[in-house]
């Protein structure tokens, strides 16, 4: 791999002045490059290259992975160990088989991306991806950006990835690995960074793109929605929250330490950033493992994890959010026998709060978790009614049989993703973000009705 400085994308050039016309021209070039090359490729060609990129990223010696892990956590948002673990979880799923399964899931027949394929009703259909997708990347996690780029390539779309200022390093490194593996495909990819809301640059991008994807706060999604012409497609993913749920026999079936360990996996993954991490873990009462004991054991596990996978330094603002929340729960715990707090000493590295108050509570994140007792799954659904629309993922600890029993009411209530506790931040490649089809959201179908 090259030792030279990275210099391919707009975001590689610090201080480069971005203008409306530059963004417009870059977008037109991407579209042209896409038409000339990417659009002519077959599924196998694209998927084999994506799998090759993933192979590189899984390799501990891969220089670009090293660069990511060596980077200042300020720039990536994560300390080395947390980032390494998150990257491994992401790329483990990027196999040729999984990519083909994704195409089959979305389109029935992957060849539909290239030509008409028959449907059960004797008509034919094919799918067309957008010629140019603009991605508004989230500022917290890199995985959604990697996935967005991979999905765009599967759809033969040129892509312009807009990152927040100072947040483009990981997307760029990923882009460079693609450029190394398959320079032709990378000619249809651009990555730039600027602060969101820049009217001049964004109007150029939005007018060139056929489709815009946004991962971010609800406000960001709403603002972009208002600015897009009706004809442009928007795939907007706003802020969601997730929680864990421990069924009362889980510890007997799975072993107490396993359940605790899975809960800790979800709390430390990406330091709880992103919509899939739990804020609260509900633990069923009347179990041999009572919720307060669960909280205490989880605190022991988080202390142990902090040695093998340190949370790392966080910003003063994030740390202050934890510190003030702790202070609040300390006086609460001192005055209420059914509230308790466990915390790392001399730092804000991890915090566990147990309290009887069942209401969903947003955590200040960075390994701060609430543990709350609950009688029954129906009680959770009742308590969570005010945030029904905002739930992303529920991580369940239960036997396989009980898992199905619990999943049904959750799904009927509106939870789009239910997974085993411990897997909350490891959605499969083909998962349906917020219950929406990952590729189906972006494409247009073309039907052919024959006589």
């Amino acid at each position: 791999m090259p030792e030279e400085p990275l210099d391919y994308f707009l975001a590689d050039k610090p201080g480069a002045e971005l203008t409306h016309s530059l963004i417009a021209e870059a977008s037109q070039t991407l579209r042209r490059n896409r038409n000339e090359y990417l659009a002519t490729l077959g599924n196998e060609q694209i998927i084999s290259k994506l799998a090759e990129v993933a192979d590189l990223w899984r390799s501990p010696d891969y220089p670009l992975r090293q660069m990511a892990l060596d980077a200042d956590p300020e720039e990536t948002g994560f300390p080395r160990e947390v980032l390494a673990s998150g990257l491994d979880a992401c790329f483990a799923d990027w196999t040729q088989e999984k990519f083909f399964m994704l195409l089959t899931q979305e389109f029935g027949d992957p060849t539909r991306l290239l030509s008409f394929a028959s449907q059960p009703n004797r008509t034919y259909s094919m799918v067309n991806g957008p010629q140019l997708i603009a991605h508004i990347a989230p500022g917290n996690l890199p995985v959604p950006v990697f996935q967005s780029i991979a999905f765009g390539l599967l759809l033969r779309s040129a892509q312009f990835v807009k990152c927040a200022s100072g947040k483009s390093l990981l997307p760029r490194l990923f882009g460079h690995s693609l450029h190394f593996v398959e320079p032709g495909m990378a000619t249809a990819l651009e990555i730039a960074e600027w602060d969101g809301g820049n009217e001049s640059l964004e109007s150029a991008l939005f007018s060139e793109a056929d489709c815009v994807t946004v991962n971010g706060g609800d406000k960001t999604v709403e603002l972009i929605r208002q600015r897009l012409p009706l004809a442009k497609r928007l795939a907007g993913y706003g802020h969601r929250v997730s929680f864990g749920y421990v069924e009362k026999q889980a510890n007997e079936v799975m072993g107490t330490q396993t359940v605790i360990s899975h809960a800790a996996d979800d709390v430390v993954a990406w330091n709880q950033h992103g919509c899939l991490s739990p804020h609260v873990i509900y633990v069923e009462e009347n179990s041999s493992l009572n919720p307060a004991r669960f909280a205490e054991m989880l605190s022991g596990e988080l202390e142990a994890r902090n040695k093998t996978m340190p949370r790392g330094l966080i910003s003063t603002r994030e740390s202050a959010a934890i510190s003030t929340a702790r202070r609040f729960y300390k006086i609460r715990a001192a005055n209420n026998a059914s509230a308790a707090l466990w915390e790392s000493e001399g730092s804000t590295d991890w915090t566990v709060v147990h309290e009887d108050e069942k209401q969903f509570q947003t955590s200040p994140l960075n390994r701060f978790i609430f543990v709350k007792p609950i009688e029954h799954i129906d009680e959770v659904l009742h308590v969570l009614e005010p945030i029904r629309e905002s739930v992303s993922t529920v991580g369940l600890a239960a036997s396989e049989a009980r898992m199905r029993d619990l999943a049904l009411p959750l799904a009927q209530w509106g939870v789009p993703r239910i997974c085993p506790l411990g897997q909350m931040q490891r959605p499969p490649l083909a998962w349906r973000h917020d219950g929406r089809p990952p590729l189906g959201e972006l494409i247009r179908w073309a039907d052919l009705e024959t006589a």
Partner: protein
Amino acid sequence: MTNFTSLTEACDAVSTFIQRSVGDPHAAGFGELALGLFAFQFAHNTPFANLCQAENLTPETVSDWRDIPTVHTRAFKSLDLSVFLETDRGTLFRSSGTTQVDRSRHFHCAETLAVYHNSLWPWFAGHLVDESANRLLFLFPKLGLAPESSLVHMMDTVAKRLAKREHCFATDGQWRIDGKAAVDFLHDCAMQNEPVTILGTAFSFVHLLDHLDANAMDFQLPSGSAVMETGGYKGRSRDMPRPKLHQAITAKLGVASARIICEYGMCELSSQAYDGKLGQANTAPRLFRFPPWARARVVSPETLVDVELGQAGLLQVVDLANVGSALSLQTEDLARQHACGFELLGRAELAESRGCSLMNLSHA
């Protein structure tokens, strides 16, 4: 250590200290008085005592005022943090908020209220009263319309202390501005060439400026006019960054930026900080200072020890005037420590949560 046997004794001691330290910022005795109040509050404020015992920081083990356990301001929402019996709680200050559980409750009796007055007045007067400002326009409701607002109570006290000055309260009990009354008052000040001090929350200033805009009006208020602005929009108006608000005040009212003073206070505190003084050149960045009877500390959120000069951290305040509740408070504000005061940096909440409507489900 001072050993207080009654609330009266504690209140008297604090009022005496206030009197003594107004003229002498280096007056000795802060630490001793703080520890005495700590012991008194430990003995009479049960929720606070429970916290101290849980942390093993009690009058027996604490010998430095910096080690007095801090009470999170949010705890005032759910706990009765008061040293006196329910029957003696004559006055209740509540923070703003949409529901009862959202709002802090700070109880006062006649004696602690007197300390509150003794605390607020000299520091206000020292920063916002000079010879030039003659009239007072309060963008606040009258006390009778909002008796549970500590800020309104403070403004009422100010109006009474400056009873010789003509004044006007120009909002209703819902804090809606009476644009006509405000404009008439300002117009008269301008016509008579009488300087005026306008006092209000940030959102009331936005309301006033919007009213002027809507009527295509602006003022060049007489030289010597001044503004006291206290932060917070609380969803009552659009948010405006402070520098922008001040620029608009200067542009629309003709009050120079050196004569716009910000106040920092809250219903859980009995003393206030100001970021400048009329008639004095103010530094940049503008630094807030509490009076000598309230000390601000900026601590590292990781270790809870004082930060170095120039560093940011969480703001804690030990306010001796909080005789009847808890004197050592943990705020939710981020601040930067400077040699002569602190710079406010905003709230200690997560940026990604701030824009999230879920945060309405705040801690009960």
